[in-house]
């Protein structure tokens, strides 16, 4: 029997789409999915209109807060391009300087109705299937998608690193929450 995505995962994709639109991106990347997932897993306090009133926070909410992961801070970092800044710095490119040079026009708004899913997001969805298989369940929850995302998306990992959060610590914590029956 194939694995099935639960409601939190589809809400997270919606939230990722909304984040990509707010940022004027033409693609939904791992950085947007990370924001969406944290919004959904952290609960309605930070989630806004996307999730609706019926949404209850995931059981990993407290653990994520403890790690210092916050959807708002993540999105601010996405807006600064923090997910690419360190990699570009390795090539001698100061992304902040480039953005200053180009100014307000940097974030071009796109007319496309629905931004495409970037490859790292597709790989994260596949990765979440492997995660649930490895854990011996069939229901793919937001936590599994987060594990898949950390495994497949450089942008998501770089975004966490930019906020001094260790992606491996997030993985360990999420696995612990899942093991505790969360």
């Amino acid at each position: 029997m194939p694995e099935r995505f639960d409601r939190a995962t589809s809400l997270a994709i919606k939230a990722a789409l909304a984040c990509a639109r707010r940022q004027g991106a033409d693609e939904v990347g791992g950085e947007h999915l990370l924001v969406g997932l944290i919004e959904v897993l952290s609960g309605p306090a930070q989630s806004g209109a996307v999730l609706g009133r019926s949404h209850v926070p995931g059981r990993s909410a407290a653990a994520l807060v403890q790690l210092g992961i916050d959807a708002g801070r993540l999105e601010d970092a996405v807006a600064r391009g923090a997910h690419d800044a360190r990699l570009l710095a390795g090539l001698g490119i100061d992304l902040a300087a480039v953005r200053r040079e180009v100014g307000d026009r940097f974030a071009v708004r796109w007319r496309t109705r629905r931004p495409r899913l970037r490859t790292d997001v597709k790989q994260a969805l596949d990765g979440s299937r492997h995660e649930v298989r490895a854990l011996g369940t069939r229901r793919i929850r937001g936590e599994h998608l987060l594990l898949g995302l950390l495994g497949s998306s450089v942008a998501a990992r770089e975004l966490l690193l930019a906020l001094d959060i260790d992606p491996m610590a997030v993985r360990t914590t999420v696995l612990q929450v899942l093991a505790d029956g969360g």
Partner: protein, 70 residues
């Protein structure tokens, strides 16, 4: 890979991974800069032909890629 600094430290000069990730980031930056400047040119009345010439690509290519740009 126990801490952010350790993660960064694992990327040595002869590790292709960091270099490949940097190339991907650079590609995203190039795409974003191209969109930005094409949009600016269009908004100030440049034709697709003029933009294509400046970018060194065909008019068809630039139009196909950027017609969605406001």
């Amino acid at each position: 890979m126990s801490s952010p600094t350790a993660l960064i430290a694992t990327a040595t000069d002869d590790d292709p991974l960091e270099g490949l990730h940097a190339v991907a980031a650079l590609r995203r930056l190039v795409e974003q800069l191209e969109r930005t400047h094409v949009a600016r040119a269009r908004s100030t009345g440049w034709s697709w032909q003029e933009i294509a010439l400046a970018l060194g690509v065909s008019k068809q290519a630039v139009h196909r890629k950027h017609r969605q740009t406001r």
